[in-house]
């Protein structure tokens, strides 16, 4: 909340104080034709909203999404191992809670949002069916536990303060391999092969892997494209233009179909790894162009001044140009990450079953054959809501970062 206080309140324009009726008269009913347009549009909007709400209340297909919640979240992940996705999620949320307590700001915004969603889902989860042989926590209990972890982490970090800083950074760096280890197994845990993974879990893993791995690759490509060494520059230009010249579907097909034909050990390369590689390579090319835009926005004087001070090329890049460039392109990058998150649904065509694929399967289950109207509207609405929550979170984060940058300029 400290950031809120530091905001210069005097910058805001004074708010125009007008009454509701005055506002309506001025904006909606100012002339006779505006009156007609307003009335007609109000009627259409009211009809749409009423029929939508009445459909939502009476739609018979909602059980399809809720009885299949396990498929949507984890697909065919073994039922007796479901505590592992739960543990992985709990780990990430605990780290998020700790970050919220330590850094506040964006981390706190995300943590509070996640906690609120956890409580809402926890309340809804009372209706979820219990699975046979379930050894993991029931859905409602786990979601409440998530909220407790988030709040508890926040409180704990506030008490411990800055000495938590480095351990937490290290923990975040290790969290990615740790989550993969928990989900995949090994080191004593039974192995759950990636071909059993799917649903929201797969979507998140693909998106996060793509974002995390493509970021350094994209930055390197952007720097390489501006390099003065012809070999590096040509390679980077070729790579970026080649990948940007083909659709993601093509890159996915290349990864899924051509890699196993070309490589001698092709059939042993994991399908999820192939998809991750394809998504990463694709995303890196676009990211490189975005970062290059940031690099070109930096005045030449910055580099010249750095050289005049005696910094070498690496120091200039790492300390002067790159930080400024990245800061300038944050909104663009977040936009790209949102697109990447949604693009992962394309992996359905190479046989991986992500959130969308799981939903398609639910629609095709024989037991919904008798449901009037089918269950696809309800199921896909649930999916849309899940996608929206994640995309909206990312876009809010982007907004906050933009605000911070705007403030830091003054």
């Amino acid at each position: 909340m400290a950031t809120e206080v530091s905001r210069p309140t005097s910058r805001r324009a004074p708010r125009q104080q007008i009454g509701l009726i005055e506002w309506l008269r001025k904006n909606l009913f100012s002339t006779w034709y505006n009156v007609i347009i307003t009335v007609v549009l109000l009627y259409i909007v009211a009809q749409t909203v009423i029929s939508f709400v009445s459909w939502v209340v009476t739609a018979p297909g909602w059980p399809a999404a809720f009885t299949n919640i396990k498929l949507l979240l984890t697909w065919t992940y073994p039922v007796d191992q479901l505590w592992r996705p739960q543990a992985a999620m709990a780990l990430v949320l605990l780290l998020l809670g700790l970050s919220s307590g330590l850094w506040g700001g964006i981390a706190r915004m995300v943590a509070w949002g996640a906690a609120a969603i956890s409580v809402v889902i926890g309340l809804a989860a009372f209706t979820f069916p219990d699975l046979p042989d379930q050894t993991s926590l029931p859905g409602w209990l786990f979601m409440f536990l998530c909220a407790v972890l988030l709040a508890g982490g926040d409180l704990l970090a506030r008490r411990l303060g800055q000495k938590l800083r480095w351990p937490l950074i290290v923990a975040w760096l290790l969290s990615y391999p740790a989550v993969i280890l928990i989900l995949r197994g090994g080191l004593g845990l039974p192995v759950v092969e990636t071909k059993l993974w799917g649903g929201l879990m797969l979507t998140l893993i693909l998106a996060i892997s793509g974002i995390v791995l493509s970021f350094p690759l994209g930055v390197l490509l952007a720097l390489g494209r501006r390099s003065s060494l012809p070999v590096i520059r040509t390679f980077c230009v070729l790579y970026i233009e080649l990948i940007r010249g083909v659709p993601l579907v093509t890159v996915l097909f290349m990864g899924a179909l051509l890699l196993p034909l070309f490589l001698p050990g092709g059939e042993s390369i994991d399908a999820l790894v192939r998809a991750t590689i394809a998504v990463t390579l694709f995303s890196a090319a676009y990211l490189a162009e975005n970062v290059r835009g940031g690099l070109q926005a930096i005045p030449k004087g910055q580099v010249e001044a750095a050289r005049a001070l005696g910094l070498n090329v690496f120091q200039t890049t790492l300390l002067i140009t790159l930080p400024q460039a990245l800061r300038a392109v944050v909104p663009v990058l977040v936009g790209q990450f949102i697109a990447l998150f949604k693009d992962t649904s394309l992996v359905v065509i190479i046989g991986l079953v992500d959130l969308l694929g799981a939903a398609q399967n639910i629609v095709g289950q024989p037991q919904w054959l008798g449901t009037p109207g089918g269950v696809w509207r309800e199921t896909f609405l649930v999916i849309a809501a899940i996608y929206w929550v994640f995309s909206f979170t990312m876009s809010r984060i982007s907004k906050r970062i933009e605000d911070q940058i705007a403030r830091s300029r003054h």
Partner: protein, 389 residues
């Protein structure tokens, strides 16, 4: 300067063309070459193989009386050593054929044939990795050896059998183009549809078959064509057409997506040939034979009336041909690399063809699809197993 660029470009182009041409020429020659290259390996591989695989049931059988069998490929040994069968299935759920239930278990007609193959090999229908495959990647996955067998409602055609280097096991489901109409329309046969408007996907064999069938019957119709299956179905659902035509299994799955499935029915008429069956990669005759006879075993079991329920009574049977079929006497299955009791394993774990059909598509399911061509030859269908002797 300009000239040299053109020379280089044409040089590159000819290289690319040569590479493509080389590949195209190679395709037919690689298939026959495979048995030839694997055959010399066999003598050295054969003595070494049984020891490391050590899968007792399956390797014991060939050792019995068929040591001189010219078995090539060794796919069965590879599967047994791996411990699971990799079965390529549909990634788009096809209700009744392949879908995943709410507990995450694969179910369906195609799935049960995967389970039958696994049961025959491992005596355990769950030793399977299901590999969901899209329509585009299914044949590549088989060619590259990613999967052992493809059971993904794939039509057996001359082009695919020949050009793709695949082999089709016997057809498990004779599909064909069907026609869906509204129940209250009073339409019972195609002849009732004179002058009807029909929703059909354009650019498909479905569209051509439709025209052929109506012309042959001297009927007129108005086609309403669409680019993809979803919009075709949606148009029919919205009442734009009297009928909607595609493959019968596709019609069945479309039923789930209509706004009121109970208002529609699928006519009995079948307008084209779509034989769907398991496919394997060419080049391993033994593995091909094994898959083939696993499918035949489900037919034969239905013919004898052996089900998973009454199997134990039949195991005490005195009828010679049933004793041979169940592997109680003789050593028939060794020649195809399967254990002698493979039919027993299939029936015990999965059931005969009728059980598989009824479980997924039969009267007790929402589909209630009549057997039609998918009945035994004794009942007017096309299912016919060569003798087990």
């Amino acid at each position: 300067m300009r000239k040299s660029v053109i020379v280089i470009l044409t040089g590159l182009l000819s290289l690319v063309l040569a590479a493509c041409g080389g590949q195209a020429q190679q395709a037919p020659t690689t298939a026959p070459a495979q048995p030839a290259t694997t055959a010399p390996e066999q003598p050295t591989a054969a003595p070494a193989q049984p020891a490391p695989t050590a899968a007792p049931a399956a390797t014991a059988a060939p050792a019995g009386g068929t040591t001189n069998q010219p078995a090539a490929g060794g796919q069965i040994e590879r599967i047994l050593a791996r411990g699971t069968l990799i079965c390529g299935v549909n990634n788009n759920p096809l209700p009744g054929f392949a879908s995943v239930d709410s507990a995450g278990v694969y179910r369906g007609f195609d799935i049960d044939f995967c389970r039958a193959v696994a049961a025959a090999l491992f005596d355990d229908p769950n030793k399977i990795d299901f590999r969901p495959l899209s329509a585009q990647e299914r044949f590549t996955a088989l060619q590259s050896g990613e999967i052992d067998v493809l059971i993904r409602n794939s039509t057996w055609t001359l082009g695919r059998d020949g050009n793709l280097g695949l082999d089709w096991a016997p057809t498990t489901f004779y599909d064909g183009q069907g026609m869906m109409v509204r129940k209250d329309s009073g339409i019972e046969t195609l002849e009732d549809m004179d002058g009807a408007t029909i929703c059909v996907q354009t650019g498909t064999t479905t569209e051509l078959n439709l025209a052929d069938q109506f012309r042959a019957r001297g009927l007129t119709f108005t086609p309403v064509v669409f680019q993809d299956g979803d919009s075709t179905r949606a148009a029919y659902d919205a009442g734009q057409c009297d009928g909607f035509t595609t493959d019968k299994s596709g019609l069945v799955s479309s039923l789930t997506l209509l706004s009121n499935p109970a208002d529609h029915k699928i006519l009995d008429v079948t307008m084209s040939k779509e034989p769907l069956g398991p496919a394997v990669r060419q080049g391993d005759p033994q593995w091909f034979d094994a898959v083939r006879w696993i499918v035949f075993a489900t037919f034969q079991a239905e013919e004898y009336g052996i089900t998973s329920q009454n199997l134990n009574e039949f195991l005490n049977s005195d009828v010679p041909e049933i004793r041979r079929f169940l592997g109680i006497e003789g050593d028939l299955a060794g020649g195809i690399g399967l254990p002698n009791d493979f039919a027993v394993r299939i029936i015990r774990h999965v059931g005969n063809y009728k059980e598989i059909y009824d479980r997924n598509l039969g009267p007790d399911t929402p589909f209630n699809l009549p057997r039609g061509l998918n009945a035994l030859y004794t009942e007017g269908g096309l299912l016919y197993s060569p003798p087990f002797r």
